[in-house]
Symmetry: C2
Subunit: 154 residues, 2 copies
């Protein structure tokens, strides 16, 4: 038996353990993307996600943003506070329900969005380019499926 091994205890092989692999790959990719815009635009990951969702769906409430970003409402609230202060998101109160806010990107917000979105897409392409076409298709299919399962359970 090789020194330092403990086969009786069946230790986990971390680097082949799927949840661990997912964590490493995900963090590495996200970090690479975030590095692109964090310094340049003083924009956090959470803020970017909020902007991305408001770019697609104008007029959402904070709660709806939270749903679509899979962030909790506290995180959304904080991200919005910064975005509004920076003049990137406009917020006004819903006409018939004074609790709700009605959110959308400002012109400044769109400007940043239109710079960051292509960069993000480029990073995604770079990631996928490391895989063969068949693998790319399988990865998309698998992630779509798992996302669906997660969605369904929530």
């Amino acid at each position: 038996m090789p020194a330092g091994r403990h086969p009786d205890h069946a230790p986990l092989e971390l680097e082949r353990f799927v949840p661990y692999q997912l964590s490493i790959v995900s963090n590495t990719v996200s970090q690479a993307i975030a590095d692109d815009y964090q310094a340049r635009h003083d924009l956090g990951v959470t803020e970017w996600r909020v902007m991305a969702v408001l770019a697609r769906f104008d007029g959402l409430s904070a709660r709806e943003v939270a749903e679509r970003t899979a962030m909790d409402k506290v995180a959304v609230s904080r991200a919005l506070a910064r975005l509004v202060a920076a003049g990137r998101v406009r917020r006004h109160t819903h006409a018939s329900d004074k609790r709700r806010s009605v959110l959308g990107l400002t012109a400044a917000g769109w400007k940043i969005h239109d710079e960051v979105a292509p960069m993000a897409r480029q990073r995604e392409r770079e990631l996928l380019a490391r895989l063969e076409p068949g693998e790319q298709a399988w990865l998309r299919r698998i992630l779509d499926k798992l996302m669906g399962e997660i969605e369904a359970e929530r």
Copy 2:
């Protein structure tokens, strides 16, 4: 054009954006596993990773643990402080280099390891069970490949 859409700006579809999908899937799975042991054993994710690595490789230094867990040395230092205090890891000084520590699980550490490792494996099986056998094989292949690329670049 549907209300609330802005096709001119080509907004990102977050839920089909691979880095975002990876992040959601990874966090969901990791959280599910962590929930299993955090409350029960008062054990954080970082601490568990350190334990898992020491279960496989006895006698590592803190720096080597950091390498194998992809954690930075500060995180490892903190995890070790807690683990040693809790009597789960033994630490003594390297005979010929007083800077290095020599780490390993104690009996108590092994006991926890032997409870947690099968739970973690079970969670991995549950994740994979959501996929068809072909998809499982592709996912493993893809993750192995991406892990290799990441490793190589560091």
